[in-house]
C-alpha cells in the first residue's frame, strides 16, 4: 500500500524562521529520508519551494489560464511529500510520527488509490 505523507506547515518566512533555525531540521530530514530508504519503503521524497513560487494552470474555464501563486490561500501550506510503500496505516502512522515535519507542522496521510509503475496504472490493494 502506498501512502503519501503530505507535510503542511506555515511558510518559514512568514513564521519568522531563519536559515539557522532550519539547520537542525535539514539534518533531521536527511536522517529521516535515509532511514526510510534503508527500510526499503521510500518511493519519493520532495520538499517544495515556498508557496509563492507556485504557478497555477487550468483549462476548466475552457481556455488556458496560467496564474502565479497557489490555488488556495491557506495559513498552512503544502511544503513537501514523502511517498512510502508500507503494509498498512499503522506503519504509515509510525513513520509519519517520526517525520521531522510533524514537529512544527501537520502531516496528512493519504493512501494512494492507483499508481503508475512499470509502464501501467496499478491498483494498490
Amino acid at each position: 500500500m502506498r501512502y503519501s505523507l503530505l507535510l503542511n506547515n506555515p511558510e518559514p518566512a512568514e513564521a519568522g524562521i531563519t536559515e539557522e533555525d532550519m539547520a537542525p531540521f535539514r539534518e533531521a530530514f536527511d536522517a529521516y529520508a535515509k532511514s526510510l530508504d534503508a527500510a526499503g519503503i521510500l518511493v519519493a521524497a520532495e520538499i517544495l519551494k515556498p508557496a509563492d513560487m507556485t504557478t497555477t494552470v487550468t483549462l476548466r474555464t475552457g481556455t488556458l489560464s496560467i496564474q502565479d501563486g497557489p490555488f488556495a490561500d491557506t495559513k498552512e501550506k503544502l511544503a513537501g511529500a514523502f511517498v512510502i510503500d508500507v503494509p498498512d496505516l499503522d506503519e504509515a502512522l509510525a513513520w509519519a510520527s517520526k517525520c521531522p515535519g510533524a514537529q512544527y507542522g501537520v502531516i496528512e496521510i493519504r493512501p494512494s488509490a492507483i499508481s503508475f509503475r512499470e509502464g501501467q496504472w496499478r491498483e494498490l490493494r
Partner: protein, 521 residues
Amino acid sequence: MAGTALSTAEARARAESVARASYGRLLALLAAPTGDLQAAEDALADAFLRALTTWPVSGIPENPEAWLFAVSRNRQRDRYRSAAYRTSVPLEPDAGSSGADPPGGTSRGAGSLGGIPSPGGSCSALPGAVHWDEVDVEAIPDRRLSLLFVCAHPAIDPGVRTPLMLQVVLGVPSDRIAAAFAVPTPAMAQRLVRAKRRIREARIPFVLPDMTVLKERLPAVLEAVYGAYALDWRSRLPGARRVRAGAGTGEPAGAGSQLQTDADSGARFRADADTGTRNQAGPDCGAQSPADEDAWGRSQAGSDADPPESLAAEALYLATVLTELLPDEPEVHGLAALICLSLARGTARTASAGGFVPLALQDTSLWHRDLIARGEEHLRRAHPLGRIGRFQLEAAMQSVHCARARTGRTDWQALLRLNEALVALTPTLGGIVSLASTLGEASGPDAALSFLDAANAPALEDFQPAWATRAHLLTQAGRTTEAAGAYGRALALTTDPALRGFLEGALQRLTAPGPPAADTD
C-alpha cells in the same frame, strides 16, 4: 420434538445463539485478510440465512461455528472471484508467499488467511464445497481483540467507535444502534458505512498493535466499551431480551422527591447524558464521566421499570472478553468491575412504577450479589498490577456504595478520597461536580459549595450537573432563594424530559411550604 428434523424456529433459535456467542469472532476472522468489514458482514449474513434453510433439513451441524465460517468463506470467495470485483486481492493462503508487493493485507502478522492455521485439509480446500468439519474455529486465534482495536483506531472518529463495536463485534443491527443513540437510522447506517470504508481504504490493520502502541490505544478501546455501557442509561434498546423481570417492589414513597439525596447527586446529571455517549468531540470527550451511573439512571427515570438485556449487558460482555484477552491490564479489570458493580444496582434503581430510585433509597436486597462479587473480583485482580486508573477509581467508588448492602452505611470519607484521586487523575467537569457532592455528604454543604466556587472552572457555568448539584447543596444549606435560581439554571440547560421532571419537582418542593427533602446517606 422431532428427531433430526428441526423446525425453522429451532434452527433460528440455534443460529441466534451461535450468532450471539460467535458473531464477532467469526467476523474478525472473515474480515482480517482484506480489512473489508462490509463484505465479511454480508458473507456472514448469507451464511446465517443459509443456516435457517439448511439446518431444519439436515440438522444442526456438530460445530455450527465452523459451518458458518466455512459457508461465509465461500461466499466471500464467490464475491472476490466475480467479475464485478476485479480482484488483485488473492484470498488464497499462499498469497502470503509473494514477494515485494504483498497483496490483500496479508503482509503483516498473517502468513495466510489472516494467520489462520489451516488444520488438515486446510481452509483452502474449501472452494465450492463446505468442508466445515475440517475447520476448527476454536483452534483459530481469537481476533476479536484486534477487531476491537480496529474499531477504536485513532483514525476512526471517536463518535462512531462505540456504534462500530456494537455492530461488528456483537452484530447489533444499525436500526437498534441508531435507536440507542437517538439518531435516525439512515444517518447511523451512513456513519457506520463510512467508518468501514475508511478501515478498508486506508487499510487499518487487523493486527494487535505492539505493546507500546497497544497501551497508547487501549484507553480508546475501553472508552468505546464504556460508551456502550453509559449509553444504556439513556436509552434502552427496543426489543431487547429481558435479563429478569422487574424485581422492583414497592416504590419508596417520594422517590422522585428524593432526587438529590445521595452522594453523587448532581454529578449524575452529566452533560454527556444529554448527548448519548461521548460522541461529541469536546475537550472533555472521553473523560467526563465520574463514577456514577446513576446519572443515566436518573436521566432515564420513569422510562423503563425492568432492566432489559441491553447495551449495558453487551458492554459487560465486551469488557469481560477484554479481561480474558488482556488479563494483565488493570484498567481493563477496572472497567469490567465498574460495569459489574453498577449493573448490580440496575434493578433497584427503578421502582415498579417506573420512577427512579436514588441510590440512598435503594433497597439493597435488590442489588445483584453475583455481579457485585464479580466486580469485586475484578478489582482484586486489578490491584496487584499496580497501575491505578480512572476506571479502577470509579469502580472502587461503586464498590464503596455497594458495601452498604453489607454494612448498612456509606463510607463517605472513603468515597471522598477516591473521588479526590479521580479528579487528580482526570480533572473533568463531571469528576469535579461529583467530588462536590461527595464533599457535601462528607463535610456538609458549606464545604462543598466553597469547593465548587474555588474550582473556578468557567465551563461549569454551562454544565447542567454543576447547577443541579449547587441547587441541592444550597437547599441543604437553607439558602432557598439561591437554590431556586440554581434549579432554574439547571433546567435551562436540560432538554431531557425525565430529567426536567426531576428538576421541576425539586424546584416546586423548594418553593412549596414544608420542609425540604431530608438528606440521608
